[in-house]
C-alpha cells in the first residue's frame, strides 16, 4: 500500500482535506436541521388536534422506514423531472447538495422525533404536578423543568443517532456533485479515478469517519456525565 503516492501528496491531500471539511459541514447542517424538525414534530405529537398528531406520526413512520439512499435518489433524480408537470416551471438548477441535505435531515428527524418523545415520557408525571402546585407557568414548566430532564434521559440515544447521521454523509456518493463539493468518500473516489488506487484513499476516509465518530461520542458522553452518572453511548 503506497500512501505516499496516493494520499500524502498534493493535490490529493488537498482534495481529501477539503472532503473532510465537507463531511463535517454536511454532518453539522443535517444534525441541526434534524434536531429542529424532530423537535417540531415531537411537539406536534402532544397537540390537541388529531390531524396534527396524525401528521406527526406519519412523519415519524415515513422517515424511519425509508432508507436514506432511495430517498435521496428519489429527491435528486426523480423530483426535477416531475416538478414542471406539477408546478409549471423548471426545477432550479444546481440543487443536488441541498436535496441531499434535505433527504438526510428528514431521515434523521424521524428518529429524533421519536427519541425526544420517549425522553418526554421518561419524565415522571409527578414533575408536572409539582410544577402546577408551585404555580409555575406552562412555559416555565416546560423550559426550566421538563425539557432539561427529558434531554437528560434521551441524550445517549440522541447522540447515537447524530453519530449515525454523520456516517450517513457518505450517501453523497450516489448523487451527482461537482468535484469541489464532494465529501471525503467522494474525494477518495475522485483520487481513485486518477491514480487507480482505491485502498489508500479509502483508508484515509475510514480514519476520518472513525475520528469523527469517536470525537462525537466522547462529546456526548461528557455531556451525559455532567447531567447524570456515566452512560454508555452506543456508536
Amino acid at each position: 500500500m503506497d500512501f505516499g503516492r496516493t494520499v500524502l501528496s498534493e493535490p490529493y491531500l488537498g482534495w481529501l482535506l477539503a472532503g473532510t471539511g465537507m463531511t463535517i459541514a454536511i454532518s453539522l447542517v443535517t444534525s441541526l436541521l434534524a434536531l429542529a424538525i424532530g423537535s417540531f414534530v415531537s411537539g406536534l405529537r402532544t397537540s390537541g388536534s388529531r390531524l396534527l398528531r396524525g401528521l406527526a406520526i406519519l412523519h415519524v413512520q415515513t422517515f424511519r422506514n425509508l432508507p436514506p439512499v432511495p430517498l435521496v435518489l428519489f429527491l435528486v433524480l426523480g423530483l426535477p423531472g416531475a416538478w414542471p408537470q406539477v408546478f409549471g416551471h423548471d426545477f432550479p438548477k444546481g440543487m443536488e447538495l441541498q436535496l441531499l441535505l434535505a433527504g438526510l435531515s428528514l431521515n434523521t428527524s424521524g428518529y429524533v422525533a421519536e427519541i425526544l418523545r420517549s425522553g418526554l415520557r421518561g419524565v415522571p408525571p409527578s414533575q408536572w404536578d409539582s410544577c402546577r402546585a408551585l404555580g409555575l407557568s406552562p412555559v416555565t414548566t416546560r423550559l426550566r423543568v421538563i425539557y432539561p430532564q427529558a434531554l437528560r434521559v434521551c441524550l445517549p440515544a440522541l447522540g447515537t443517532r447524530l453519530i449515525h447521521n454523520t456516517k450517513n454523509s457518505t450517501i453523497a456518493l450516489v448523487i451527482p456533485l461537482s468535484s469541489g463539493s464532494m465529501e471525503v468518500l467522494g474525494q477518495a473516489g475522485r483520487i481513485a479515478g486518477e491514480s487507480f488506487a482505491w485502498a489508500e484513499p479509502l483508508v484515509f476516509a475510514a480514519l476520518v469517519h472513525l475520528s469523527l465518530a469517536f470525537a462525537l461520542s466522547a462529546l456526548v458522553n461528557a455531556a451525559a456525565r455532567r447531567a447524570q452518572g456515566k452512560v454508555a453511548v452506543a456508536r
Binding site: 424511519r64 422506514n65 425509508l66 426523480g78 421518561g122 450517501i171 469517536f214 452506543a234
Partner: protein
C-alpha cells in the same frame, strides 16, 4: 415497460448469464437480484452475524487479551459508515487476500461484520438483563438449575433480545441499499438498472422503490412492536436502546 414488468424486475432482478457466475462460490447469491437478493443478503448477514456477535459479547467479558481486540473490532466496525465498510471489502479483498470473490458475497461479508457489531451490543444488554439477583432469587425460591436456565434466564434473554434482533434485521434490510455503489444487483441497484435500460420515467420507478422499502420495513416494524407488547417483561432499558 409495463408497471407489472417493472414490479417483477424490482422483485427478482435481471437474469445473470452463466459466464458471470463463479462456480467456486454459492450460486444463489450470484444469480439473485432485486428484492430477493436484498432479503437474502439481510438474512444471511444476520444469520452469520449473530454467532459472531455472541462471540464478541462473550469476549468482552473475558481477560484483557481477548477483551481488547473484541472491543477494538466492535468500536471500529460501528464507527465506520456501512458504505465505507462495503467499499473496503470490495477493493481490498483481492489485493490483501488474493481471492476473487463475487460482489454480492463481499457485500454480505461486510454486512455480517456490521450486524455482528450491533448484535454484540444486544447480547450484552441481554446478559445485563439476566444479571443481578434474578438467578439467585430463582434458586432461592427452589427452582432447579435446569428450570432456572429455561424459565428464567432464557426467557428473560429471549424477551429482551428477540425484538432487538428483529429490529436489527429490519435495519440491515434497509441498509443494503448502499450496495448500489459497488454494483451488487440488489433492489436499489435494480431500480437504477431499470431506469438506465428502458425509456421509462424515473419518478414512478423511484416511487415504487420507496414503497417497497417503506412498506416492508413498516410492516416488519409493526410486527415487532406487537411482539414487544405481548412480552411486557422485557428489559425497560431497551426502550431507547439507541439502535438505528
Amino acid at each position: 415497460m409495463s408497471a407489472f414488468e417493472v414490479v417483477r424486475r424490482l422483485l427478482v432482478g435481471y437474469p445473470v448469464p452463466d459466464e458471470f457466475v463463479d462456480p467456486a462460490y454459492p450460486e444463489l447469491l450470484q444469480r439473485l437480484g432485486g428484492l430477493e437478493l436484498t432479503l437474502v443478503v439481510a438474512a444471511t448477514s444476520l444469520l452469520l452475524g449473530l454467532p459472531l456477535g455472541a462471540l464478541l459479547a462473550v469476549g468482552r467479558q473475558g481477560p484483557a487479551l481477548v477483551r481488547w481486540p473484541a472491543v477494538l473490532f466492535v468500536e471500529v466496525v460501528r464507527g465506520l459508515p456501512v458504505m465505507l465498510l462495503v467499499l473496503l471489502f470490495v477493493h481490498l479483498s483481492y489485493p490483501l487476500l488474493g481471492v476473487r470473490v463475487p460482489v454480492a458475497l463481499l457485500g454480505t461479508a461486510a454486512f455480517t461484520l456490521h450486524a455482528a457489531s450491533y448484535a454484540s451490543e444486544i447480547f450484552r444488554s441481554g446478559f445485563r438483563a439476566v444479571g443481578g439477583g434474578v438467578v439467585d432469587a430463582a434458586r432461592v425460591l427452589g427452582l432447579s438449575r435446569r428450570q432456572t436456565l429455561v424459565h428464567v434466564e432464557l426467557s428473560i434473554a429471549v424477551r429482551t433480545m428477540l425484538p432487538a434482533f428483529l429490529g436489527l434485521l429490519i435495519t440491515v434490510f434497509k441498509d443494503t441499499s448502499v450496495l448500489i455503489v459497488v454494483g451488487a444487483a440488489e433492489l436499489t441497484c435494480t431500480a437504477r438498472q431499470i431506469t438506465v435500460s428502458q425509456p421509462v420515467n424515473m419518478l414512478p420507478v423511484l416511487f415504487l422503490l420507496l414503497l417497497m422499502y417503506g412498506g416492508s420495513a413498516a410492516l416488519a416494524s409493526l410486527l415487532v412492536a406487537r411482539l414487544e407488547r405481548r412480552w411486557p417483561g422485557a428489559d425497560p432499558r431497551n426502550d431507547t436502546k439507541g439502535l438505528p
